[in-house]
């Protein structure tokens, strides 16, 4: 196959590209420039479109022996990921931009462009496994390295997108990937993993949002409506947050309070006790199926996951064309609207939806 290796400049995508070459594919490396104002960061961690990262990606491509190009996806990334991130926060929701980027950029904009240019698939350094059964049915599974498994952020890919995706690292542990990179002469072998949101390299998400959405102060209230503090921009809070609230009125028994709700219209943050955060039912909208859609009207057993590295939560779930409803076996504390709900059947990814409601 003719494939495009999306190369971030990190160790994973470099090894993924090398493995694709070894598997006999015709590979070209592409670095996505996601910011129109590339900045030079000296941290060594990955930012978005830094000069050092594009250099690292180019050098890795040279070592692997594949052509290398830089694609300017800044406009698409800004419109599809960054603006969406800001909008979602403005509406009091907590989005996951990595999900969005995989859905709209890496496996849509890039894949579409790749197809137009005569390429069949995009290979990335994500940790997830793809399996195709005897009938040609494709399914995505968790990676074997539980610490690196990234199936959660890939659960936004539909069957067509998955057919154009290759994840050569899903059967490996990160520690072995670093060893392999070293053995292959890739000097990014010891480059640190990225953790922050790539377009907020400072890691100060609240400050970044405040710069864009303003810092209009407003009340922090308890569930009875009593003002217990003041905030500097409601959207910089997240459901379940306990720290940094700076409440002026303590609870009677001194028990901690948590953010329960964010109401952007009234610019209010509602706080309460931990037990008030408890939910047992999650409703997700706009479902995406990573394989066949589960049967409608039947309760299925499976696991729900609501964060990239969250624990799988045993649940029963039902589906419709427009939603997934998951009934958790054990209550969960703190879930924000806008987060991604991913359903697993064992290690197989069933699909995902955006959390729209909880009970």
């Amino acid at each position: 196959m003719k494939v495009i290796a999306a190369m971030s400049g990190g160790v994973d995508s470099a090894v993924a590209a090398a493995r694709a070459v070894e598997a006999g594919h015709e590979v070209i490396g592409v670095h996505l420039a996601l910011s129109s104002n590339p900045q030079k960061y000296r941290s060594g961690a990955r930012g978005c479109c830094t000069i050092e990262d594009s250099h690292d990606a180019r050098r890795a491509a040279d070592v692997i022996g594949i052509p290398f190009y830089i694609w300017d996806m800044a406009e698409e990334f800004h419109a599809g990921v960054v603006e969406n991130f800001i909008d979602e926060y403005a509406q009091g929701r907590t989005p996951n931009p990595c999900l969005r980027c995989n859905e709209k950029i890496k496996f849509q904009a890039v894949l579409d462009r790749a197809a137009a240019l005569g390429y069949d698939a995009v290979v990335t350094g994500h940790y997830a496994q793809m399996r195709v059964d005897a009938d040609g049915n494709r399914a995505m599974y968790r990676a074997i390295d539980p610490l690196k498994d990234q199936s959660y952020v890939l659960a936004v890919l539909n069957e067509k997108q998955l057919a154009g995706a290759m994840f050569p690292l899903g059967d490996s542990h990160k520690v072995d990937i670093r060893k392999e990179a070293k053995a292959r002469g890739l000097y990014v072998a010891n480059k640190p993993d990225s953790h922050d949101i790539c377009f907020i390299p400072s890691g100060n998400n609240a400050g970044w949002l405040r710069d864009r959405l303003g810092s209009e102060s407003g009340p922090i209230v308890d569930q009875d409506g009593n003002t217990v503090g003041e905030h500097q921009g409601a959207y910089t809070y997240t459901i379940g947050q306990r720290r940094g609230l700076g409440l002026s009125v303590p609870t009677v028994d001194g028990s901690p309070r948590y953010v329960l709700k964010i109401e952007p219209k009234t610019n209010t943050v509602v706080v309460g006790a931990k037990e008030d955060l408890a939910i047992s039912k999650i409703v997700g909208e706009k479902p995406i199926w990573c394989g066949p859609m589960p049967t409608v009207g039947v309760a299925h057993r499976g696991f729900a996951q609501i964060r990239a590295h969250g624990s799988p939560l045993a649940c029963s779930y039902t589906v419709s064309e427009s939603s997934i409803q998951a009934q958790l076996d054990e209550p969960l504390f703190g879930l924000a609207r806008g987060q991604g709900l991913v359903i697993y059947d064992g290690d197989r990814v069933v699909g995902s939806a955006t959390v729209s409601d909880t009970e």
């Binding site: 830089i70 300017d72 709209k104 462009r113 240019l117």
Partner: protein, 392 residues
């Protein structure tokens, strides 16, 4: 190997230059040393200087070797500017053509941001030549305050040759600098006749080695140096004299001079042939830079509804090397400021690429490009349409 149509970026070394380089590399001696070894090397360097001076119609003492065209342009722009404000702080205006190479534009911007320079850009007419009337107007109103005027001899992206002699006449006593990196060795270039105060020529654009260029600076003109040290080059440029590269530069210049007319005709014909084949495959294609007086080897084409990075990728895939104006430091293709200066829209500029032909180009290669360009543009259009869909 593939088809190399990026000669304006750099061109293969001529056999004569290679030989001269290798031969000189086996000689020991610092050209500034007083002993026999040093004198031996010095002699070679001075012969090279004289040879280049003769070809450029300059005096040998007017040749100041540098390590790159960029360095030589920086030296000229900053050197004239600093000398000017040292004498008269109100003479702080730098006048430059809007489509200069970054080796001119960036030092100018730097002087504006850090050294109090004021910058006036000369507009470019759609055919790719500077607007002389606009320049006359600028000179008329600001002549008392202009430190230097810089206009390239020919444009590196579109190949149009600029009316340097007329500019010098308009300038009166104001120093005129010209970046002649693309012209030297390819078209008529006569430093004395042009009457510019300074010019830049570079070895690797004419079959010489990388890492050597020269500022040709009129005899008796004093500019402020950039590099301070041993003062090896007329006290204007310091640094150990790079004898092997200089000797090879002269050899390349010699070859280019001997073959200039025949190369010009040959390359011009090949370029016209490429143009015709592109039009046959892509009737919508348009060409940028429509002046009568052009470099022979540059063809800048706009393929509507494409993006240059897709075109370059597909051409590269087909074994054809072309290029665009410039990329940012992270490697992202940018809409060319040259094309924008001609009045192209951002979208048009982003759908343009440059083919540049040179000594190794053959008709068979042009024919092959002609046979492949149609499918390349077709795929680039397909990629453009999905991109446009994603953006809308």
């Amino acid at each position: 190997m593939g088809i190399y149509l990026d000669h304006a970026a750099t061109t293969p070394m001529s056999p004569a230059a290679r030989e001269a380089l290798v031969a000189q590399m086996s000689q020991v001696g610092n050209a500034s040393s007083l002993h026999a070894f040093g004198r031996g090397v010095r002699k070679e360097v001075e012969q090279a200087r004289e040879s280049i001076a003769t070809i450029a119609c300059a005096h040998p003492t007017e040749i100041i070797f540098t390590a790159s065209g960029t360095e030589a342009n920086n030296l000229a722009i900053k050197g004239f500017y600093w000398k000017s404000i040292e004498r008269d702080p109100s003479k702080n205006i730098i006048v430059v053509a809007a489509f200069e190479h970054h080796a001119i534009l960036e030092p100018v911007v730097w002087l504006e941001e850090h050294e109090g320079a004021a910058v006036i850009y000369i507009p470019i007419k759609p055919e790719g030549v500077i607007d002389l009337d606009a320049l006359a107007q600028i000179i008329e109103t600001e002549s008392e305050h202009i430190a230097v005027i810089a206009v390239m001899h020919s444009n590196n992206e579109i190949g149009t040759i600029q009316p340097i002699a007329e500019i010098v006449e308009l300038a009166g006593g104001i120093p005129v600098h010209t970046d002649a990196v693309q012209s030297f060795g390819k078209v008529d270039f006569d430093f004395a006749v042009l009457g510019v105060r300074s010019a830049v020529i570079s070895a690797h654009k004419i079959g010489g080695p990388l890492g050597v260029a020269a500022l040709i600076l009129e005899h008796g003109i004093d500019i402020t140096p950039l590099l301070h040290g041993g003062g090896q080059e007329r006290d204007i440029r310091s640094g150990t004299i790079n004898a092997p590269s200089i000797v090879a530069f002269a050899a390349a210049a010699q070859s280019a001079a001997v073959d200039r007319v025949s190369n010009f005709e040959r390359t011009w014909k090949l370029r016209e042939s490429l143009k015709e084949r592109i039009l046959r495959a892509e009737p919508d294609a348009t060409f940028n830079g429509r002046s009568e007086i052009m470099l022979p080897g540059i063809l800048n084409v706009t393929f509507p509804n494409t993006e240059s990075d897709s075109l370059l990728l597909l051409l590269d895939n087909a074994g054809i090397a072309a290029s665009t104006g410039s990329a940012c430091s992270a490697g992202v293709q940018r809409a060319s400021h040259v094309l924008i200066s001609l009045g192209l829209t951002e979208a048009q500029a982003r759908s343009s690429i440059r083919f540049s032909l040179g000594s190794s180009t053959t008709q068979a290669e042009i024919d092959e490009v002609g046979s492949k360009i149609g499918s390349v543009v077709e795929s680039a259009r397909a990629a453009f349409s999905v991109g446009a869909g994603a953006k809308s």
